[in-house]
């Protein structure tokens, strides 16, 4: 499966700590992607079963939609992100400051 540099950035960010639940703005800051780019990627990963999402309702805090990779997502993500082709595509994006 061919993935875009932006999708690879999101996967790399989520693979940083695969067990941790992340939220959209946090991922946006880390990857440097804007909402209109980040969320369609999250939605597609979710539709394909690579990502799981849940609402977090903590007291004194606003509700947040949280995301983390599923076991399938972690396996597929590692395979794709670590491939030489993916690394070559990620390099220029990282140099431009896309990945904080």
């Amino acid at each position: 499966m061919r993935l875009t540099a932006q999708t690879l950035l999101v996967l790399a960010a989520l693979l940083g700590d695969p067990g941790e639940w992340r939220y959209g703005y946090d991922l946006s800051r880390e990857t440097g992607l804007k909402s209109g780019c980040l969320y369609p990627i999250l939605i597609r990963l979710n539709e394909r079963g690579w990502l799981q999402s849940k609402w977090r309702h903590d007291e004194n805090q606003k509700p947040r939609h949280m995301y983390r990779l599923t076991a399938l997502g972690q396996r597929m993500g590692r395979q794709t992100v670590n491939s030489p082709k993916a690394l070559a595509r990620l390099k220029p994006v990282a140099e431009q400051g896309g990945m904080a």
């Binding site: 959209g24 804007k34 209109g36 369609p40 990627i41 939605i43 597609r44 539709e47 939609h65």
Partner: protein, 209 residues
């Protein structure tokens, strides 16, 4: 009582408005709007909100066309704008028809010019839609679609004062779009077409950038 800022009020209104959307789209849109509260700076906030709007449009169009979300970001966004523009045009035009029927002096050159401007805007969106149709259905059908669209746009000369006639003119391209979006029609034409454009790429190959 604490006074709410403009941004908070806007976000609250938009979050409430998400209830009007289908549940899955509403969930994602609400998530994006809640995150917008953390965004610092007006520029970034506006960018985040416009991203939210675009993503919601993409999801709505994807749902309508039964395609994976944002599989074709540009075409889906353009078609969302096109369909939105088209719906507004029908609404404005029909209301104006009702008004001019009651107050004939309202009819004038300014309105005719406005019609042409809108027609040109619709024609430009049609080019994007035609590109999408070429990829999905093949060249011949896309040319036929573009021809019908051009005829429909030219037919909107702004002089016909019969609301029924205008509705018929406007409903022709809409009916074509609806028919062509039907999976059954799509499959039938794909099977028949020998000169179709490139096949659909893998869904994840086009990211929403």
């Amino acid at each position: 009582m604490k006074k709410l800022g403009l941004r908070t009020r806007l976000l609250r209104t938009l979050t409430t408005a998400t209830r009007l959307l289908p549940s899955d789209i509403s969930d994602w849109t609400k998530a994006m709007l809640l995150e917008a509260d953390d965004v610092s700076g007006t520029g970034e906030f506006v960018s985040w909100i416009s991203g939210t709007f675009t993503t919601a449009c993409r999801m709505l169009v994807s749902n309508t066309f039964r395609q994976p979300t944002a599989a074709r970001p540009l075409e889906l966004t353009l078609s969302a704008l096109y369909l939105g523009g088209f719906a507004s045009f029908v609404a404005v035009r029909v209301s104006f028809e009702i008004l001019t029927f009651r107050i004939p002096s309202l009819w004038g050159h300014a309105w005719i010019s406005a019609c042409w401007c809108l027609a040109l805007a619709l024609a430009s969106f049609s080019v994007a839609i035609a590109t999408w149709f070429r990829r999905s259905y093949g060249r011949r059908l896309a040319i036929a679609y573009a021809a019908v669209q051009i005829v429909a746009v030219i037919a909107m000369d702004g002089r016909t004062q019969n609301a029924l006639a205008i509705l018929l003119k406007l409903s022709t391209p809409t009916a074509i779009i609806a028919a062509m979006c039907s999976p059954r029609v799509k499959t039938a034409f794909r099977n028949r077409s020998n000169d179709s454009g490139p096949d659909l790429p893998a869904p994840l190959s086009q990211s929403g950038s």
